[in-house]
Symmetry: C3
Subunit: 342 residues, 3 copies
């Protein structure tokens, strides 16, 4: 089956780009991956599934209206930040974080604007980073998400209580008796938390969606989540926060990005990626503690900051082989392209 047959289709093209947009959250430019991930999210909550679709469509449509670069649109790159910001706004204003609630009309308009804004900010950050050959990653989502989340808590027409979900390790009881479910639920939830899904089975389904397109990426996401667990346990983190996957989702994303996607996979780059996973884990705790007093979640800020620092920094190191964003497809292709060159 040719997975790219709908990408240039006149009417189904938009569906293809949107599904790719969902896949791009975890760096998978593949509509089938997007579809499986969407199914995983609907399995947890149809509301989140719906909002994810609204977000990805809004982001992609905004780029179309503004006449953005066609190939970026067709690879889903204008959709993934919109998808995330939509889900985040609903997740952190719902009474039940796990399932989410349908947004009010005011909230709906608000999140559509936020998703549209991510496309503009994506273009902006991409322009700023172009000379340094690094991608915008999910920074548009993080920035727009923070800015829109603050305001939402105070408009009288949008009902929002305080965050119903703990967002920092010090909001958990300091239990450090780790059990088997801490492991398998923690790892699954870490993958799920990338999409704000507090459901470890959904997490493993998302992993399947990744593996469809790239086994290396799936392995790296898993490694990131496992490394995060080990680090968090070694440093005595609260069991509840580990089990909820909070320590692991940034490490999993850092793993995918550094583990073969933007750097050719070698023994050295694997060690570099593991270093990044460890730092991402600690820094999640750091940023969470910093943001807790103002009630803001970390989102994927730690992943973006660590990955940016390590990707921009590596241009000064001869031990690593970069893959520029424009050429990054899958770790498998990146590695074979490099081997065929040398």
């Amino acid at each position: 089956m040719n997975l790219n047959r709908f990408q240039e289709h006149s009417t189904l093209g938009f569906v293809d780009w949107s599904l790719r947009g969902i896949g791009q959250v975890v760096f998978q430019n593949n509509p089938l991956s997007g579809l499986i991930i969407l199914a995983a999210i609907v399995y947890n909550s149809w509301i989140y599934g719906l909002i994810l679709v609204v977000g990805v469509i809004t982001g992609t449509a905004t780029a179309c209206i503004l006449l953005a670069d066609r190939s970026l649109i067709r690879n889903g790159l204008f959709g993934f930040n919109g998808a995330l910001v939509g889900v985040a706004l609903v997740a952190f204003t719902s009474e039940d974080f796990r399932r989410g609630s349908l947004p009010s009309a005011h909230m709906f308009i608000y999140l559509v604007f936020a998703a549209a804004m991510t496309s503009i900010v994506f273009s902006s950050i991409s322009t700023l980073l172009a000379p340094y050959k690094v991608a915008a990653l999910t920074m548009p989502f993080v920035l727009v998400g923070w800015l829109f989340l603050f305001a939402v808590l105070r408009f009288s027409s949008i009902e929002a209580g305080p965050l119903s979900k703990p967002v920092s390790p010090d909001q958990y009881e300091l239990v450090t008796a780790y059990v088997l479910p801490t492991w398998y639920m923690g790892v699954g939830n870490a993958i799920g938390q990338i999409f704000f899904q507090d459901n470890w089975i959904a997490g493993y389904l998302i992993l399947v969606g990744i593996a469809i397109n790239s086994r290396i990426s799936a392995f790296m996401a898993l490694t990131g989540a496992v490394v995060a667990e080990i680090v968090a346990m070694a440093f005595g983190a609260p069991e509840g926060a580990i089990r909820d996957g909070l320590y692991g989702y940034n490490a999993a994303l850092t793993g995918i990005a550094l583990g073969g996607f933007f750097l050719v996979l070698t023994t050295r780059s694997f060690i570099y990626a593991v270093f990044g996973m460890i730092v991402s884990t600690w820094l999640w705790a750091s940023v969470a503690i910093f943001l807790a007093p103002i009630g803001m979640p970390v989102l994927t800020s730690t992943f973006v900051v660590v990955t940016w620092a390590m990707l921009i920094g590596q241009y000064g190191f001869k031990s690593l082989i970069p893959i520029p964003p424009a050429e990054a497809t899958t770790p498998e292709e990146g590695r074979s392209r490099h081997l065929s060159k040398t």
Copy 2:
């Protein structure tokens, strides 16, 4: 009358540049606009008028001493951040925000240093942004203002109470009964707040100063203030904050910047500008809530962030036509130059 006849004058030149500096706060490179705006501020409070003059002279003189680019100096670009930082430091340390108090000797030295620093930071940010063809806007004022405001509250030789002025929507009573004065006072105050003037008549006088140089800019400022009111009301914002113009001053500035000044005015760019106004309004509330615990005002940070994102971002969109900072004069000229080219 040739408005530019004093710009090259050996002795009156400096007066011309300083008046242009006042006008540049609202993007009007016109000494007469500066003079009318100064009159509007003196009408509200001669103290603010005096400090505005001290600030603009300090900023401009610093640039002269450091041998900055002559054409930038002559267009008032080294004065407007100094003018704003001076007024801000006095406004937020005065017991009566509305009229302001004469600064002490210590405070005076302090604000002169702050105004001088804005010229260095202006040069710095302009250098950083040069590759991206966007202007520094009022960011030098925002950064220097924040940094100098923090310290001022703790030096024993500078008497300063806590801010006497509410700086965040949650410091207002949640009244949502909007009346006629909410409208006309809110719009006037929004223009006034650009210069920290809590006086709606002064606001409309400033609008006259803008209209003298560019009717489109005046219309866009007005549109920004009105759009901000509509958005704030639709989302149930406190009546007092709307009436004080707090929701609107960033939207008004965003309106001027995006509405023909840095983008050729077309139907599409007008919609883009309105989108920016709406986002600026929400983000004012967001940043205000974020900064309230540390007692800091938003200043014009929201305007700068939204305008930067939308101007840098538009380089990736073919639907908009940018006007580089070096060529930006008035929306009218920008549009006619573009039409004569095509």
Copy 3:
């Protein structure tokens, strides 16, 4: 004695680079300066001396493993941020700030990772700043230090009380009776605080280490500390904070950087440097007050921000003569090279 004879040595080279790394904290690319500074720190506390060595070795070794630019490594540029971050992590988690405590095994692993991370962030910031011809300064240390300090306070396996050291002027009693020791202890401590040494004699020993390599740099560090005292006293700062050298360490570093090191020393650049020292002093208070509620120290952030703003900004001013980072050695050489050209 040829001070550079070990720089290319196969086995002693690494020792040379590490000592230079210690010297580079205060811009002295000289192993003997590094050795004297190390001795000064050991004089105060052998624990800090040990950690300083661990930090500088980790940073330098990381750069070697990653195959970073050899000349940067050999000039100690990958070591100084690691050295600082190690000492900072120990200082702010020890019960006795003055002497420090030996870190636990967990803490030790943690600080080694932090020091390694500074080398990556150093490469990253250097890449970002390359087009603007400014150095990364101690920003890698500041960023990594902040991020790692936050998390450290919450891992149950790392015992850390609240900071035992006041980090903000409002944590001192507002005594403004300045006596002779306020002067000579304040100045000595300001130099010491660059390395977190609360010991004024150690401070003067560090000054000797600087003077060995550059008398101008030593003079500028001293001038910075003295100017900071004068400004702090003139504005009625708490005597304890002045005596502890807190107002002065950023000003001393700004003095070295702007006073001949990155700008050819002339009457104009000296005045520019003094302006920078004054602003650094105020801004230390500002950032300290901003960070106090979250219990974070200022580190050398004020120095970096002011120096960056003034160095990037000066490219717009014809009155100053820049020395690009790659050519910056000592103020003496910078000045004589410039004079020989004209």
